[in-house]
Every structure is written in structure tokens, then in C-alpha cells.
């Protein structure tokens, strides 16, 4: 079964982070990611780590959920760390063997880089865990809306609508795939055995009905939208209006303070 595949891994705990206006949340998190890469030294990374940790705790999403997201990139972290350990020279030599020399500077640099990557993953996880895909596309649409001044307003709306529809239909399609797979297995389809060619061929009985039903669904959706007088972005209002609250105010100040302190560290 392919149901356990989730995209937009929203995890609702109704925390203050969930309640933040998604437009501001998106900008704040992008700002934090940028400043994670601008942080010049361990003091800066320390400040950012504390900030990320605070946000994680406030989100009330179990810490294990965050750790799970780190798993796929452990290899990358280790690789960058190793590269830094061996290729950064300077500082006192701690250890030397053949062509490898480990210096204190290299170790520090490795730890620095690794922390950066981890922080970046963690803070982006905060965004995906606390923001529904719909909120996210709304935020993107809203943030791109200035493009209407150069005549791209309709394009932005169409893009956002396409993203929303695509995200909406992912669970439907996985459901459908499950059903069609079961139905073909009931007719003796064997998808687990055989060579690559045989397996590819065994996919046809699944892909073709899936394609047909997607086209059918798309048609139905288009008709339903027509029936409700959908004419694109012009004059369209929202049911859920995004509106900043007191928490957003605090979150903005929080982000500004963090970013300012990093700028301060860089300058002095």
C-alpha cells in the first residue's frame, strides 16, 4: 500500500505557530534560513539554534517528528563534515596520518557547517508541519501578487490554483492507485516478481486506468468550477481571509531581533 506516503506533512497541534498568518510565517522562515547562512561565527549559530529550538518547542509537534526529517540527510551532513575536517587547514594540528591532517580549525568548521544544515532542515520542517498546503499556496499567491503591476496577476493566480488543485488531489490519486492495484491483483496481476521489463509491463494495467480516471476527474472538476462561475482570479474573494494577529506581531519582532543580531555580529 502506498498510503503512508504523505506530502505536505501537516501535523495539527493548534499551537501558536500553527495560528500564525502563513504569509508572514513564510517570509520569517525564509529570513531565518538566509540568516542561518549569513551567521559568521558560533555566537551567531548559537543564537539561531536557540531561536529554532524555541520555535520547535512552541510548535508542540513531537521532537521525534523533527528528528525523522533529519534521517535522509545524515549522509550529506557527514560528508560535508568530513570534507571540512580534512580540507580545512590552519589552527593547531591535532592528528595526522598519511595525507590526512586534522586540525582544530577543521573540526570547528565541520561542526559549524553541520549545525547550519541541521538548523535549516529543522526550521523548514517547522513550516511544513505547521502550515497546510492550502495556506502555503495562499501565502505564495499573496506574496507574488505585486507581479500584477507588470501584468502577471492572472498568471500568479493560475499558478496558485494549479498548486492547490495538485495538492488536493494527491491523496485522491494515491487512494485510486491503491484501488486499481488491488483490482488488477484480483485478476492475477503479479507486480512483485519478475525482471524489470516484466514489471514495467505489469504497470500498464495500473497506469492506463489511472490516467483515464485523472482525465475524467479533471473534466468533472473543470465543469464543476464552470458551474460555479469560476472565471479566474479577477474579482475573486477568499472565504478564509489571511489576517495578522498579535502573535504575528511578536513573531515579526522576534525574527527582526534575531536577524539584527546576526547583522550586528557580522559588522563588528
Amino acid at each position: 500500500m502506498i498510503k503512508n506516503f504523505t506530502l505536505g506533512q501537516y501535523f495539527n497541534t493548534a499551537s501558536v505557530i500553527h495560528k500564525l498568518d502563513s504569509r508572514f510565517k513564510l517570509v520569517e522562515i525564509i529570513a531565518l534560513i538566509v540568516f542561518i547562512f549569513l551567521a559568521p561565527n558560533f555566537v551567531g549559530i548559537g543564537i539561531l539554534s536557540a531561536a529554532v529550538l524555541l520555535v520547535i518547542l512552541l510548535s508542540k509537534v513531537p521532537v521525534t517528528m523533527y528528528l525523522r526529517n533529519l534521517k535522509p540527510i545524515i549522509a550529506i551532513i557527514i560528508l560535508t563534515a568530513l570534507l571540512n575536517i580534512f580540507y580545512v587547514s590552519g589552527g593547531t594540528v591535532l592528528f595526522s596520518w598519511w595525507i590526512f591532517t586534522v586540525t582544530s580549525e577543521g573540526l570547528l568548521k565541520a561542526a559549524f557547517m553541520a549545525t547550519r544544515i541541521v538548523l535549516m532542515i529543522l526550521i523548514s520542517s517547522v513550516l511544513t508541519y505547521t502550515t497546510t498546503p492550502t495556506e502555503l499556496t495562499d501565502a505564495i499567491e499573496s506574496l507574488l501578487s505585486p507581479l500584477r503591476f507588470i501584468g502577471l496577476g492572472e498568471a500568479v493566480h493560475t499558478l496558485a490554483m494549479m498548486m492547490t488543485i495538485a495538492l488536493r488531489f494527491i491523496p485522491t490519486l494515491t487512494d485510486e492507485t491503491d484501488k486499481i492495484m488491488s483490482a488488477q491483483k484480483a485478476r492475477g496481476a503479479d507486480m512483485e516478481n519478475g525482471g524489470i521489463f516484466k514489471r514495467l509491463k505489469a504497470l500498464m494495467p495500473i497506469l492506463i486506468p489511472l490516467l483515464f480516471s485523472s482525465v475524467r476527474r479533471a473534466n468533472e472538476l473543470a465543469e464543476a468550477m464552470d458551474c460555479r462561475c469560476y472565471t479566474g482570479g479577477k474579482g475573486r474573494t477568499r472565504m478564509k481571509k489571511l489576517s495578522p494577529t498579535f502573535y504575528d506581531f511578536i513573531a515579526i519582532i522576534f525574527t527582526v531581533v534575531i536577524c539584527a543580531s546576526i547583522i550586528f555580529l557580522r559588522i563588528f
Binding site: N4, E176, A183, K185, A186, R187, G188, P205, P209
Partner: protein, 285 residues
């Protein structure tokens, strides 16, 4: 002799957290060859899930399924073979059609069984005739057929595997009255010819009372009642509690009886009811 039997079958979808009750729980029943069992239960009661354990699409968490007195899962590698013996027709089977022609689509199952082309051709001719699929439609793309015609093709695809047990999930949903009658007649005919056991899930009590020998009532994944059609429908209060109902004509008879007419109410088909009412009038005249 029982052809299909389950013993203490339980299964829960892995994504559902353990705080929920099992999707199906402790299901034991047995089906004889030539017998028809109807399964009723409200939406989400686990009917479709139960059906999928019967042909090994779902491996139960605990409990066993016996096909011809043999454990279905005794050799998990051969589970594919078992699916030819327990033919499962899904809800809205027309959405699984994929071949270029209806003919080829019906041939898909038998081909997977490894039958010869002549044998496959024989079976396709036999079962498309049984289901009233015209020669013309056999050579059309399945996507050009109407919904009802597609349904027949899908069903023919399962019948052509000549399963010992035929399992149908709401086979008449969305069909017109003629389509329903035709479908049921075809199933009956297949059953008479092969002495297969049949299991039907349906929300139509009328259809079930016409087709079935026994009824199995599911609620919350558990068997609430398993017995002859008469036994199950006689307890209309219990059925109402479970969000189900007796056939319409039975309700009419119950009302008539409540109005003081001396009339039988253990009647589940319109034909029987007509006879009983005529009988009543000829006696009272």
C-alpha cells in the same frame, strides 16, 4: 462441504492508530458451494475490507481463511494462484478496464492464469453471451462503452477465470432495474453451472432477499448476526438499531399487520407478498 471458511479473522489498517477499534474483528463464518451469502452493514462497517481478506489481497493480522479446507496463506508465494479461485469483483469495477478492446480486457485474468488461447476464446464467448455483451461491443475499446456495459465487461473478466467462489462488492450500484436483474440472473446462472459459492455485499435489501440464502450483518467490524435471510429480517428492531432496514415490502406487511390485518409479515420479496395478500383477500371474502 464448506468451500470458504474464516476463523477469528481480525485486521486493522496500519495507519489507523491503536486507539481505534479493529477494522474487522473476530470474523468467523463459512460458505458452502452453491450457497449465496449476503453481507450487509452501514458505510464503514468493514465490508470491503472483509472481502479483500477472502482472496488474500489483505493478510489478516490474526485468524485464518480456509479455501477448500486449506489454509489460504499456507504458502504466501502462491497467493496469486488463490486469487483465481476466489474471484473478487470490486465496487465500480469498470474503472479497472485498461486494454484496447473489451475482448482483450476480459482475457487479462485468464491469460494470467496461463490458459491456452483457444480456452480463453471459448470462455470469453461463453461469458460475454451470459452477460449479454454483443460481438460488436467486444471489439470496441472499453472506454467507448456505457457505464452499464463496462460493468458487464468487468464482471465477465472475473467470471472467465471460473472462480470457485465469486465475491461481489456492491455489484449493482448505479445500474438501472433491468441492468440489475440481468446482472443477478447472470450470477445465478454462473452459480448453477459451476456450483460456485457467492458472496454479495449490497445496500439493497430487496436484491439480497432475492439472491441470498444467508445474511451476515456487520457493524463496527464485527458480526452482529449471521443466519438465514428470514432470521435476520425478522429481527427488524435490531437491524434498525444498526442503521439498516428490512426490505420495503416487509415494511408494508409489518404495517398491514399493525393495522390489524391477519397477515404474515415474514415476507421479503414482492412476489411472496402479492401471493399472501391475494390469499388474504380470498380467505376473507
Amino acid at each position: 462441504m464448506s468451500i470458504l471458511k474464516t476463523k477469528n479473522l481480525s485486521f486493522t489498517y496500519p495507519q489507523i492508530s491503536s486507539v481505534h477499534h479493529a477494522t474487522i474483528n473476530d470474523i468467523s463464518f463459512s460458505l458452502d458451494s452453491g450457497e449465496t451469502i449476503g453481507i450487509i452493514g452501514h458505510t464503514g462497517s468493514g465490508k470491503s475490507t472483509l472481502l479483500q481478506t477472502l482472496n488474500g489481497l489483505i493478510k489478516p493480522d490474526s485468524g485464518m481463511v480456509f479455501l477448500n479446507e486449506k489454509d489460504l496463506w499456507e504458502n504466501p508465494k502462491e497467493i496469486y494462484q488463490k486469487r483465481f479461485k476466489v474471484g473478487l469483483v470490486f465496487q465500480y469495477p469498470e474503472y479497472q478496464l485498461f486494454e484496447e478492446t473489451a475482448y482483450k480486457d476480459i482475457a487479462y485474468g485468464p491469460k494470467n492464469m496461463g490458459l491456452s488461447d483457444e480456452e480463453i476464446d471459448l470462455r470469453i464467448n461463453e461469458y460475454s453471451a451470459l452477460l449479454g455483451i454483443t460481438e460488436d461491443n467486444l471489439n470496441k475499446s472499453p472506454f467507448e462503452l456505457s457505464g452499464g456495459e463496462k460493468r458487464r465487461v468487468a464482471l465477465a473478466g472475473i467470471l472467465a477465470m471460473e472462480p470457485d467462489v465469486l465475491v461481489l462488492d456492491e455489484p449493482t450500484a448505479g445500474l438501472d432495474p433491468i441492468g440489475r436483474t440481468m446482472l443477478f440472473n447472470a450470477i445465478k446462472e454462473y452459480q448453477i453451472k459451476t456450483n460456485a459459492g457467492v458472496i454479495i455485499v449490497s445496500h439493497s435489501m430487496e436484491d439480497l432477499s432475492k439472491m441470498c440464502d444467508k445474511l451476515l450483518v456487520l457493524s463496527g467490524g464485527e458480526i452482529k448476526k449471521f443466519g438465514s435471510v428470514k432470521d435476520v429480517f425478522l429481527d427488524s428492531a435490531e437491524l434498525n438499531n444498526l442503521g439498516l432496514d428490512v426490505p420495503m415490502v416487509t415494511r408494508v406487511m409489518l404495517e398491514l399487520k399493525a393495522k390489524g390485518l391477519d397477515i404474515r409479515s415474514d415476507i421479503f420479496t414482492v412476489d411472496e407478498a402479492a401471493k399472501e395478500i391475494l390469499n388474504f383477500f380470498s380467505q376473507s371474502l
